[in-house]
């Protein structure tokens, strides 16, 4: 399941991040990595992106990127 498919309020543990390069670097440095539990807080207008939280970090991710982050519920 992709993180983008979760509903607001649901959580999941990251199984795989299908990104590379700088986007992956940035996620990692924000503490969003495989094995971490993330919560979907909300979606933006027209569901263009998703706001997820992981520990104290809140990060907005556009759909195209969020669809490459796999989670286990």
């Amino acid at each position: 399941m992709k993180v983008f498919d979760l509903k607001a309020g649901e959580t999941g543990v990251i199984k795989n991040i299908g990104l590379s390069g700088s986007a992956l670097e940035r996620l990692t440095s924000l503490g969003i990595k495989v094995g971490e539990r993330v919560e979907v807080i909300s979606f933006s207008l027209f569901k263009s992106s998703v706001l997820i939280s992981c520990a104290a970090v809140r990060v907005g991710i556009r759909k195209s990127l969020a669809q490459r982050i796999e989670v286990d519920i």
Binding site: F46, S48, S53, V57, L65
Partner: protein, 567 residues
């Protein structure tokens, strides 16, 4: 040793009394950690800060005593993501002392960069910010234990104390046994608060944003509200000052220079300070409370549909203040095409200086100019979004931290507000006044330097050359054509030139006034925005944009005039 009493492990670097004399101190850290706020405190500067990730976009430096402080854009890691962060790494590596500014709220993640900085071998100290907010949410951080965990000194003292420690060169080294991270730090309750949830809700966020903007304009422009009321007072004050100044003067030419040129021109623009203050107070409150950051996320769908970066929301909001400053914020974008697209549309967002222009032309026509001006602001943003859809270019994936919602600190808000107003007043008393003097001279002397009526002046002869372009928008007075031209130096000049040359008002009818305001809305921004754009996107691209904007401004104004002439 008083200055480092808060650091329980402190001892003096004995060998070198002034370890940082003539040295470079670099401030580095994650985006939105508070580097620029610390930089301003250390150097008594007034660099722009904002509660948003990526406000600082290029290294700034200032020398105090014999220490040069360098403020670098935020970076998450040395392997970089966006263009802005590349310049940061080079600066960090070249520092004699690196102050790693760390947001205590997100400490665990920030340490990733901290470790990389320490690994470069540059002498490093960690400075914690937002400790009070951490305490409020039930967390704690022990600087002594954290410094033993990291192996570098850690401070959470006020900036003044930190400055003294740096100047004295008495940086304490961590002493004692190494300890675990969780003895030193507890994150506290990081759950999303009710206020956060509300502002992250897309429907609420959209309505709140529109309501806030309308409330802002209402307070600023409605004749019975604060902004307009204070403006009236300011006008009276400036008028009285002008009368006092000219009461002792004899020479009619000198009286005219002061009363029409300086007081009438620049003074009339200065009277807009209260209304600008209301606008900027609103924008600052939204920014400092984290609401702008939340709204930028929640309304991302609109920006995505317009092919804009997720960060564009922040740039557009900055554009209400100053286009040049807004253009600088685009350096944080990760791709050039996303940056160019945003730079191309920013001039359509009406900056603070366009406000006096709209008011000058619309106030005589409406008893209450608030709805008309609000329409122009929304039209500007709509035009920006529409143009963005039309421009080709790549998109940028949004991957940006969102700041938590918190009550803004009154002190910061007031400081920022005063700073912005100071900038406006300096501009008006400086460049705009000079400009008014020049305009006065040009409009009172003929080519053979005789003191003449404005109609025979060299300004009149020159302005009549460009006047035909303004005929189709119903403008047949050369003085307004000249005012429009002045706008390319600074938009404040438009209102100043009208006030100077046409003391009884511009005298435009509804159709031509709205057409001229449309021209001002779409036309290229001022020279400082132009040079910011050249710096960010190159001359060729900037010229292309300017030509397009000029064309759109004329065509838009012609069409608007046609439409309103028939109504």
């Amino acid at each position: 040793m008083k200055s480092i009493r808060r650091c329980p492990y402190g001892y003096k670097l004995a060998a070198n009394e002034s370890a940082t004399a003539g040295k470079k101190v670099v401030l580095a850290g994650n985006p939105n950690a508070g580097k620029t706020t610390l930089f301003n405190a250390l150097t008594h500067s007034n660099l722009r800060t904002g509660n948003f990730h990526g406000v600082t976009t290029s290294p700034a430096q200032k020398t105090v005593g014999n220490i040069t402080y360098v403020d670098v854009p935020g970076a998450y890691a040395f392997k970089t993501y966006s263009m802005e962060e590349k310049s940061a790494v080079d600066e960090i590596k070249s520092g004699d002392l690196v102050i790693n500014v760390v947001d205590a709220l997100t400490l665990e993640n920030s340490l990733n960069l901290t470790r990389q900085i320490i690994a470069t071998g540059a002498p490093t100290v960690v400075y914690l910010t937002k400790c009070a907010a951490l305490k409020r949410r039930g967390g704690f951080v022990d600087t002594g234990k954290l410094s033993r965990y990291l192996g570098v000194p850690v401070f959470d003292c006020p900036p003044k104390k930190l400055k003294k420690i740096i100047e004295d060169g008495s940086i304490p080294k961590p002493a004692g046994e190494k300890c675990g991270f969780f003895e030193a730090y507890k994150a506290g309750d990081t759950r999303i608060s009710g206020a956060d949830k509300l502002f992250y809700n897309r429907i609420f966020a959209l309505f709140f944003f529109i309501a806030a903007i309308i409330a802002m304009f209402f307070l600023a422009f409605h004749p019975l509200m604060l902004g307009a009321y204070l403006k009236g007072l300011m006008e009276k004050l400036i008028g009285a000052f002008g009368d006092f100044l000219t009461s002792k003067m004899q020479n009619p030419a000198v009286i005219s220079l002061f009363s029409e040129g300086i007081i009438g021109g620049a003074g009339s623009v200065l009277a807009f300070v209260p209304q600008l203050a209301v606008l900027y107070l609103f924008l600052t409150l939204l920014d400092e409370s984290g609401v702008t950051s939340a709204l930028a996320f929640a309304t991302d769908g609109i920006f995505e549909k317009a092919n804009l970066s997720g960060r564009a929301a922040f740039s557009l909001v900055s554009g209400f203040g100053c286009t040049a400053a807004a253009i600088m914020t685009t350096r944080g974008y990760s791709t050039q095409s996303a940056q160019r697209r945003t730079v191309a549309i920013l001039p359509f967002v009406p900056c603070g200086a366009k406000l006096p222009v709209f008011l000058t032309f619309l106030s005589p026509l409406f008893e209450n100019p608030f709805p008309a001006i609000t329409c122009f602001y929304f039209a500007g943003v709509a035009a920006a979004l529409i143009v963005s859809v039309a421009v080709k270019g790549g998109n940028e994936g949004l991957l940006s931290e969102v700041a938590p919602i918190a009550l803004p600190r009154l002190k910061t808000v007031i400081e920022k507000l005063l700073n912005y107003l100071k900038g406006f007043i300096i501009k008006v008393t400086g460049i705009v006044t000079l400009f008014c003097v020049a305009s006065w001279v040009l409009s009172h002397f003929s080519f053979d330097f005789k003191y003449v009526e404005a109609e025979q002046s060299m300004l009149s002869a020159f302005s009549k050359l460009i006047l035909p372009f303004f005929y189709p928008m119903g403008v047949i007075d050369w003085r307004i054509a000249y005012a429009a031209l002045c706008g390319f130096v600074a938009k404040e000049n438009v209102a100043a030139a009208v006030a100077l040359l046409m003391p009884d008002g511009a005298g435009l009818g509804l159709a031509s006034a709205i057409a001229f305001c449309t021209f001002m809305l779409f036309c290229p921004a001022c020279i400082s925005a132009f040079s910011a754009s050249v710096k960010e996107t190159g001359l060729k691209f900037t010229l292309k944009c300017a030509a397009f904007q000029l064309l759109l401004a004329f065509l838009g104004a012609y069409v608007t005039h046609l439409i309103f002439a028939f109504i």
